[in-house]
Symmetry: C2
Subunit: 339 residues, 2 copies
């Protein structure tokens, strides 16, 4: 086995790369939710001052990159690597968002797991001494996602109870060697395997991704010989209320009660009662803004000392759905610790 | 600066991870070209026995993964990581191709630079001891690409002289610690920056990507203090005849004559005179099958001892083109040496 590997799927980061800073921007609906105060800025304009929603998504990434650099006190010429991607066809939210940065760039496609995947690769690059500073970043936009994946918004299509609401937002983490002081650090990461349990309903993404989350979290505990009570919080990306209950049930069948220790970013970001988002939030931006705002803030404040961030993604497309394919899910886990 | 970094963009792989095996499959047109004999298998059926071209692309990846495992004598349960992606929206060629493998999977989007990007990340994972065996893989398919990016094939649309022909094919490399014997080894990799010179014609991809190739190759030589004559072959991914001449001209303006030392996979794969592919081949599969077949075969035979593989990608989408955006290019370089 490779020296920095534990078990089959988990990477061990001896140096515990630090998250030197994090930043996030979000839209109007997100600003009205329970985490509204944790975003660096929000915009009431769905286009963020741009001509199209796709360009708005690039603008969010560009602004988030600038903000995370400012917060970390690191200029873009000192960044060795950006690991980023998004949900748009050919990831144009990202390409045009980082185009002018002149930073070495690795494009990712992990669907809504991209924040975790980017953080995993950025941490590997920093821990392995291939990069001094690496940024992990992603975004999603309700309007660009709806028109690409579902219906033009103007149709006013009905949504099913299991449907989720794509978050408008972008988040970024600056990863580097620790500079002193107490910071959230990346200690391990578990690379997900694709899990496909045969769900074919594109309005039931949470249920499609839940088994992948279960498999990755279970693999992490096996690989590291740890257990749920070793962590203050286990948080999945965007399973929403339906997917979250599937994860709870799967662990229950193993005799494990996750209880209040387990949360989901898709549930945390919107108010279930007043915001009419059905099963909750989704999209790359969902777990990104919840991690880069609320969760890392709570870690820095010492509320959470050990946290498992489990990004979940549905690796389908409208074409694969129309061709009768089921929805493959994936989950990448990043273990964070306040050190 | 990070210990395993040379200059601004280049990674140094001290352990020189080996390419233990490579495999590739391709379509009928590719089998009729100059490199036809170097593919592990080719199919006269554009659907590779599947119901759709998208499923055919997944089938090619699945078969290529199986073949590279057989050739390396490594079963899938011993692979720690697959780094893969493709050109289809949401990379479904890859997701459904690797779905049944049960191998930890990192999804990439690097457009036609994906083979180089995957090889770079797989080599970093092996060199850093995060993985014992890592596979880099990608694919493209003429028919699925045409209908997604351009026109339904049934329209019989005219192609411009600068247009390229998307290669139907998939390629994979198995990267691991050297097992003895002389093998192609990965010594360095240069992570590309996005370069956008304002080309807006989606039928002129070679020209749009050429400046990125020039910038990355120049950065590699500066970072490693080497020069063109230190390498037996410098090969770009899929610039085709137009893009290749742009790279030659850019280096000429620096006083550097690349001459016969420089080739392009897009030119090598088809016969210019008889195959009517205009400026040459393109697509993720283009550089993948030329590397995994012909180039690595020539390295193993000792014909090339030092080779620079420079994957080139155009990070646009039909939507970004319709919204008036220019075409951002990227090039990732992987330095190979027979050791």
């Amino acid at each position: 086995m490779a020296a920095k590997r534990m078990g089959k799927q988990t990477l061990l980061f001896d140096s515990k790369p630090a998250i030197l800073a994090s930043a996030c921007v979000a839209g109007k609906k997100e600003s009205e939710g329970p985490l509204g105060a944790t975003f660096d800025y929000t915009s009431d304009d769905t286009t963020f001052g741009e001509k199209t929603w796709e360009k708005a998504e690039s603008r969010m990434q560009k602004d988030t990159l600038g903000t995370v650099c400012n917060k970390a006190g690191i200029t873009t010429d000192r960044i060795d690597l950006i690991c980023a991607g998004d949900l748009l066809n050919q990831c144009i939210g990202t390409s045009f968002g980082v185009r002018d940065s002149a930073v070495p760039f690795l494009g990712l496609y992990g669907a809504c797991s991209t924040m975790a995947e980017g953080l995993l690769i950025a941490s590997m690059a920093v821990d392995g001494q291939y990069a001094a500073h690496a940024v992990a970043m992603t975004s999603s936009h309700f309007c660009s996602a709806e028109r690409q994946y579902r219906m033009p918004l103007e149709y006013g299509g009905q949504r099913t109870p299991t449907a989720q609401w794509t978050v408008t937002g972008a988040g970024a983490c600056m990863v580097g060697a620790p500079t002193g002081g107490t910071l959230p650090r990346v200690t391990h990461a578990t690379i997900g395997k694709i899990v496909d349990c045969g769900v074919t309903d594109p309005s039931h993404m949470g249920g499609a991704m839940a088994p992948a989350a279960y498999e990755t979290i279970k693999a992490f505990w096996e690989d590291t010989a740890t257990k749920p009570s070793d962590y203050d919080l286990i948080v999945t990306g965007d399973l929403g209320s339906v997917g979250k209950s599937v994860v709870e049930d799967l662990f229950k069948s193993d005799g494990i009660e996750l209880k209040q220790r387990y949360q989901d970013c898709g549930i945390m970001i919107f108010d279930d009662g007043s915001q009419d988002t059905h099963a909750g939030g989704s999209g790359c931006g969902c777990s990104a803004v919840v991690l880069c705002g609320h969760l890392l803030e709570r870690m820095r404040a010492g509320v959470y000392k050990k946290l498992l961030f489990c990004g979940t993604g549905a690796l389908m497309s409208p074409v694969s759905a129309m061709q009768g394919e089921s929805i493959p899910g994936i989950c990448h886990l990043v273990a964070l610790e306040l050190v």
